[in-house]
Symmetry: C2
Subunit: 453 residues, 2 copies
């Protein structure tokens, strides 16, 4: 590699990414002196250490870590993240959001997540009485009520049933709930991070129901957790016989404690809170059980404008289990600003509780004009689907939005459409189109666009 060649390389650098990339030879020849100086602290120390070593033939700029042995194999028999990311990329709790840390929430850092799998260490958690520490050998699942043969299953029993593994999203219906009255939470992790996507493995609930024999009058199932809140929800039998699972593994390994270890109910595409964690009991009944967490909570009072919806005003959505289509742009976002004019690739996530994502549109002007994004990789039912769209930023202010359409034809609504239907006095099922404002500086704010009524 001659200096001449590299000089030419720098001069003819392709502008595809609008960023001056540099070669080692360029730095050494002083072509890009400022960059060399900036990096000198890194590379010069390596050179000094190298010259002191027996291997005198080490090339220049050999990094420090190449000149010595690393950590032994199996340093962590259960592997851990790099110390360089271990504190940056974590689930986070927002201290002021809940009165204490026991009945609280931690959020998946969506801005740093790639692909469609959320690693188990970063799956969000929402607990109602903290995370119980359950001994799986002592844990039992009882299925009783309107059944022919009430049975108590051990973990070992459950593991002997046929299993299924499926990739599905898991979203709290309160995800984005703070934004309904206007922008509150600022960062992507907190506006959309009560949402994760894993490969879940467990027993189809219908096999267990066949085993106990549901009586003809059995129409609803009460699912109850073994946590201190005895968190409980009523599930219609149709869902239970369709695609619900009693899961014991996420991304290949046993469930994490905060995600329901040793077992949780999993209702694909439905509200996360219906997927009772630390599942202890399924009671079959002939009607819903109207538990605390499905009447005072996880129910939405409707206050649209009186003149528009006389029949809805003051009523409530209850048992609104299905998560409707939603999407969000994950780059750019407040955590990942733009750094100077040029070409970028917008990325985002879309999902629908009704099935597959069919398309995602992206707007850079707050919903005036739309372009169709590319769906990337696997497009699975009731799972995250990643989308991308290359764009060129000329440094002007942008109002970036994404709009998901699922295979049923359902289109993600605007905030105006959502408020017209429900008012602003609700908490759950905010699936409105979100707006990121990219400022001239490249920094990104969470905003809402005022839409005329």
């Amino acid at each position: 590699m001659s200096k001449g060649t590299n000089k030419g390389a720098i001069d003819s650098q392709p502008e595809a990414l609008n960023r001056l990339l540099h070669s080692e030879a360029d730095k050494l020849s002083g072509v890009d002196r400022r960059r060399f100086i900036k990096n000198a602290a890194v590379f010069s120390s390596a050179v000094v250490a190298g010259s002191a070593m027996a291997s005198s033939n080490l090339p220049p700029n050999t990094p420090e870590w190449t000149k010595k042995l690393g950590l032994p194999v199996n340093t962590h028999p259960y592997g851990q993240p790099s110390p360089y990311v271990a504190e940056k990329i974590v689930r986070r709790r927002v201290p002021w959001l809940t009165p204490d840390a026991i009945a609280s929430i931690s959020f998946t850092p969506l801005a740093d997540i790639k692909g469609i799998i959320t690693p188990n260490g970063l799956v969000f958690e929402r607990d109602h009485a903290g995370v119980p520490t359950i001994n799986p050998d002592e844990h039992r699942l009882m299925i009783h009520g309107l059944v022919e043969r009430p049975i108590i299953f051990t973990m070992e029993d459950l593991m002997r049933f046929p299993s299924e593994s499926r990739i599905h999203f898991l979203e709290c219906p309160a995800n984005g709930g703070m934004e309904i009255k206007g922008p509150q939470m600022g960062r992507l992790q907190f506006t959309h991070g009560m949402n994760s996507c894993c490969e879940w493995t467990g027993v189809p609930l219908r096999y267990l129901l066949e085993e106990v024999g549901v009586k003809p009058e059995g129409k609803w199932i009460l699912a109850e957790g073994a946590d201190g809140a005895a968190m409980s929800r009523s599930i219609p039998i149709e869902k239970a016989l369709d695609d619900s699972l009693v899961v014991y593994a996420q991304n290949g390994e046993p469930l994490r404690p905060e995600n329901g270890f040793p077992i949780r109910l999993f209702n694909p595409g439905w509200e996360g809170n219906t997927m009772i964690k630390w599942l202890r009991r399924l009671e079959v009944g002939d009607k819903p059980y109207y538990q605390r967490e499905e009447t005072s909570k996880y129910t939405d009072l409707l206050y649209p404008r009186r003149e528009d919806y006389k029949d809805r005003y003051g009523k409530a959505y209850i048992f609104s289990m299905e998560m409707e289509a939603k999407s969000v742009v994950t780059f750019p976002c407040p955590e990942k600003p733009l750094k100077g004019k040029g070409k970028y690739i917008l990325e985002g996530l879309a999902w629908s509780g009704k099935g597959r994502i069919k398309a995602v549109d992206v707007s850079f002007d707050g919903g005036v004009t739309w372009q169709t994004a590319q769906l990337k990789g696997l497009v699975l039912p009731k799972a995250w689907t990643r989308f991308a769209l290359p764009f060129n930023w000329n440094g002007e202010k942008l109002l970036v939005q994404s709009r998901a359409i699922d295979e049923t034809g359902y289109v993600q609504p605007t905030y105006k459409q959502m408020r017209d239907a429900r008012g602003t006095h609700f908490i759950y099922h905010n699936n409105a189109i979100h707006t990121w404002m990219v400022k001239e500086s490249g920094e990104v704010d969470s905003v809402q666009i005022f839409e005329k009524g």
Copy 2:
């Protein structure tokens, strides 16, 4: 739930799983006294504690953890496994297998893995000079040699390129290498556990090669790692332009240190060692570089019987990159024995470096007769595919085998076929059909069946 009902339930217990499941009421009524006594330590302590609490209306057998608050949300901002599994389900090193723990191996616990995703904490590792602790801000990837524009990329540069996320297996070609002369390693974790499957995200290498402009005479690429071994391999340009990635994420989060943080090369379907970890340098040349790790290692001397293969005897396989179709039964296996006669569901994993798995056959009599297994869930190219087959065990000795067939029609060979082709003096690319012997006790041994020549 009356005692009478439950008495009936026990009497009419379906024998589908040939296991006496039991209800709480049965235990209390003494129908299954021995089981009750066995479990008494669990339940009686819960009852006592319950009676001492204010909540006098707690039902009997309420477990200890339901009567108190659990751990706060975000106890581990980066989540950790349950203490009940954290020491049981880990990667393991075999102390006698390598002279030290620096150039060594730890194994994925395949017997405990569900689905097709291996969680990052359990992905196997094979290091040649330990695991370097690399600061990603200081790490660089240089692409040079027979290129128009040599470039040094920062991590930030790489993240601006279009990315792809794909689920692929990663297998060391030495996986099973100890078994070539006969059963050695005993347990599934060690006979097949240098193999994992993740969702990998990174930049297609062809984009980076387009950026630097490979000269027409550029036919091979030397990939070099930033570890103390400067681990290096030669990759043909055709693979690099096909589906190779420079990956920076596994299962959604940054690569783990032992898997190449901050970047590694990923050559789908090829030997794990070609997927250089801690990737530092790609040099384009006109021929292979014949590095230490592709001549003295990762090359197989061929010693089949002289009379059969005169033209091969004493020659070697070199640059045998592709991992051919392979499979293994993960249940039953030495770690997961059978517990009494009855119905079970055999499970296993199959994979091929050539593409998708087309079918898997299972034998219970050491390969005399075969049945077709069911392929479960996603069947993706160059990825783990899970298979299952229900069977009824009458308590007799079994010789359990699986045989993968991939979409090219390639059939996993027997040990006899493999030895006839290559002799027994090789280490890499043992993809022979493996045999588990289920003994009358239900315990499982790793065996090899003597096959007449």
